[in-house]
Amino acid sequence: MTKPSPQELLSRKKVIDVEDLVTHYGERMILKGISMDVREGEIMVIMGGSGSGKSTLLRHLMSLETATSGKMSLLGRDITELTLKETYSLRKKIGVAFQGGALFSSMTVGENIKLPLREHTDLDEFTMDIMARMKLEVVDLAGFEDLTPSELSGGMLKRAAVARAIVMDPKLLFFDEPSAGLDPVVAAQLDELILRLRDAMGMSIVVVTHELDSAFRIADRITMLDRGKILMVGTPEEMKASDNSRIQNLLNRRIEEEDLDPDAYLRRLTGEDQSNERA
């Protein structure tokens, strides 16, 4: 399947819609008014330098954290208005592949993959076995269901985590740094898997990564964050063509030398900045 055109993409239904999201850790403002959306069947990559807020944004998108203010809907539901039961039901439609795999070391790979099915469904055991093995086939780990996570390599662990994330056929799938720590060939295979999942199952996929090659390979659009704000949302081509120097610095891995504003620097050192943000 070829990538959708920007016009076609924006005509699709929003599966994530974020408006003016603000969040703090303690008194420090981390996300400073984020507005973005993700469309049906889209692969949205969230990028940004260290401390840009991309992991924090991901946790909010996964509704693992509550924002200070702003609105957010997931799969058409305003998450601030959901009851506990509705949140539980919504989470069944969402898959998450965590950075480190987050598989339980005491269970076999197969048991790890079946865990969401046991938690959320009353399916027959044999049906669950087949579903888990099908997903292992999809991630190219057929026959590994009886091993424990400690017996897998880094790349295999990531793929096993993907198998668990997709075992319920989620409408929305989140990846946290899927390529981190992988060699380029294995990283490219994982990218290929992400594209196949979108194409075959019509999933909407959100990927947080700092790997440029991976981002440009898979993204329909990229959200570029910088210091808790959105610098730009656009296609990889739009991103490359941007004349914004901060974006080019991030894309070209240039360390940005900040113009020193003595007053602002003094305010930062004395904590006056944070007092202003709190206000």
């Binding site: 399916l123 049906t127 199952m201 019509g202």
Partner: protein
């Protein structure tokens, strides 16, 4: 999901309509296993399947395996694009016998 059943030339034809998902697949599984366990040959018409998830596919796999064990026939017919993509993802399009039409399936399975 709507599930209709009829019999032609000794072949039980299931026609699926709508979404086969975690909620509805147990019903499909039960209906299929009932027939294949009774030694019947089965054709599953999937033209109007808007969506089928892995639990639905797993039900088809289990029924197919049971049919093979009982030496009875099992085939899928007129599979929708969305369903074939899911089968292809798990390479199950190479496992199931897939027919273009229900008529072809019935003709083949009844021989």
């Amino acid at each position: 999901m709507n599930l209709s059943t009829r019999e032609e030339n000794g072949i039980v034809i299931f026609e699926l309509d709508g979404e086969v998902d975690l909620e509805t697949s147990p019903k499909l599984r039960q209906a299929l296993l009932q027939q294949v366990n009774a030694g019947k040959s089965v054709c599953v018409g999937m033209q109007d399947v808007a969506y089928i998830d892995s639990s639905g596919i797993a039900s088809l796999v289990e029924a197919y395996q049971t049919a093979r064990r009982n030496s009875s026939g099992f085939g899928l017919a007129c599979i929708s694009d969305s369903a074939i993509r899911v089968l292809q993802l798990a390479r199950l399009d190479k496992v199931f016998t897939i027919y273009d039409t229900i008529e072809t399936a019935v003709s083949d399975l009844s021989t």
